[in-house]
Amino acid sequence: MKNLFKIFLVFLFIINFTPLKSAEKVEYLKTDWSFKGLFGKFDRAQLQRGYQVYTEVCASCHSMKYLSYRNLSEKGGPEFSEDEAKVIAASFEITDGPNADGEMFTRPGKLSDKFKKPYENVEAAKAANGGAYPPDMSVLIKARGGGADYIYSLLQGYEDPPMGVTLDDGVYYNKYMYGNKIKMAAPLSEGIVEYSDGTEASVQQMSKDVITFLMWAAEPHLEARHQMGFKAIVYLIILTVLVYFSMKKIWSRVETEV
């Protein structure tokens, strides 16, 4: 058993030396994410509020190309009812076609449609945003070093530039952005959305809601993963204990310690 302990030590050592924590020195803002930890899961109301922030604020520039409207009613997500999701989908004009005459046409969205993109293509997005492409948000949380904490901080990190820093037109100062210069204007301001459940729409609250929504968008099966993980590990531990005693029993026939 002493040797097993050593295995774990070596293992921990390797984990500590993984390069991932190296790059950033800025301390991110922290908050109590509901999805962290062994039993972490999403708060439905928070995901629904987050979707509201996304669709009313972010979606005017940021696409979410891997999500469909049907995802909004799926288990583990915001869990809108299917009828609600249908209404949400129908509120978007989707280009479809070509029809029998070879013409493209628009129709109300269906559950199977992907989220409507704000721009036709990357070039159009760049042209409308001073040359910067607003990244697709489907996996954004997983695509940034600091993850949820980083983007949460970024949304609240807008400040007046310090003395001596001059900014070009359309460039803003953000203390969490790499290089501190960002081409996105502060997207959130007090009361920019009106929550129907009466939650106060402070910048901090909206940031937290929308980041939770983005986390779900990046990891739609996070809840299922955590639940299955707990069962799998408990099962493995029980089996390990049983096998340990079987091993002891079998090895008791030889005068060697295992």
Partner: protein
Amino acid sequence: MSDHDYTPKSKVGKWFNDRLPLLSLANHLTDYPTPKNLNYWWTFGGILTFCLITQIVTGLTLAMHYIAHADMAFDSVEHIMRDVNYGWLIRYIHANGASMFFLAVYIHIFRSLFYGSYKAPREIIWIIGIIIYLLMMAAAFMGYVLPWGQMSFWGATVITNLFSAIPLVGEGIVTWLWGGYSVDNPTLTRFFTLHYLIPFLILGLVVLHIWALHVPGNNNPVGIDIKKPSKDTVPFHPYIVIKDGFALLMFMIVFAFFVFYTPNILGHADNYIEADPLVTPAHIVPEWYLLPFYAILRSVPDKLLGVVAMLSAILILAALPWLDTSKIRSAVFRPLYKQFYWILVADVLILGYMGAMPAEGLYLLIARVATAYYFLHFLVILPVLGFKEKTLPVPLSITEPVLGGSSNMAAARNKESLKN
């Protein structure tokens, strides 16, 4: 193999076995006499077999849904993560499985280094192992390219560009590898093909690795030759099977923790950004298991020599049975070697850390010293140590240190010393 005389009891069994001795093989595998003092460091062979099978099975499933095309690879991976039933589970097992595989193989290799398992008569086992390790690195590297994220693309660019260091033909080789003038769709499709092929090559080599092992039998922590079968051995089944099984379960708990709770911690965030040939990431870093070699590559100022140093760092291991001149296998009886062994372990960990840091200033200096020491260990320290080191007395059998020398053993020892 000691069991040619095995005959199946049933008539049908005998008929079959005379034509294809599968039953003899099964009998050999269950009865295989194994030293009874093997510690838990010896369980990683079984764990590695598990890792290989896991990678093959999950990989086959992923290949049914993955699309090897530069425009669709990233999308198809997201399709697996979102819409394929338990696709997220299969992909996370496969991605973390690669890291677990390397974790296990490094423990397996360093166990060999500590107990001198590479020495005569086990050189062939060792060399096959090194080939397997090289193929693993190739497979892992190409697998990391398949999701076609930013690190995939730029990692592939950096690594394939290493071949351009070869004088005269280098540039031509790189173009040939890429199938074009940059890393692009032809590169992706051939990497996918090779990534699919290599695990089966590894599987074949694993069979040879085990076959070669079963000729002399296992080394053991005492590092002495033992009589087989004898009081020093136990049959593989059930003794070693259950012990390997127990260790495997412990390993699976760690594995499961990564898969279910921190599935992305061993990967790089940039790989969730779709590959873009026009945007270079700030730091291009390989996966953690390649970092020590990456550090060696970067610590040499010349590109060609850097590549040579990196390759030598791996290939030098194949010459280890002849570089280590000591007659004693186990570090338990080699007080000096034991210390140098742990320094080497620290050296490799330091190299790994430096591989993750930017190659500048103090980091670069430390990486250079560590690289020099790495080669010093194998080329100078090991050969000299074999002649200079005063080793501790080695017991004659595994049971002796436990039971104390009987009169028989004392006699045997006298005979041994007369011979010398």
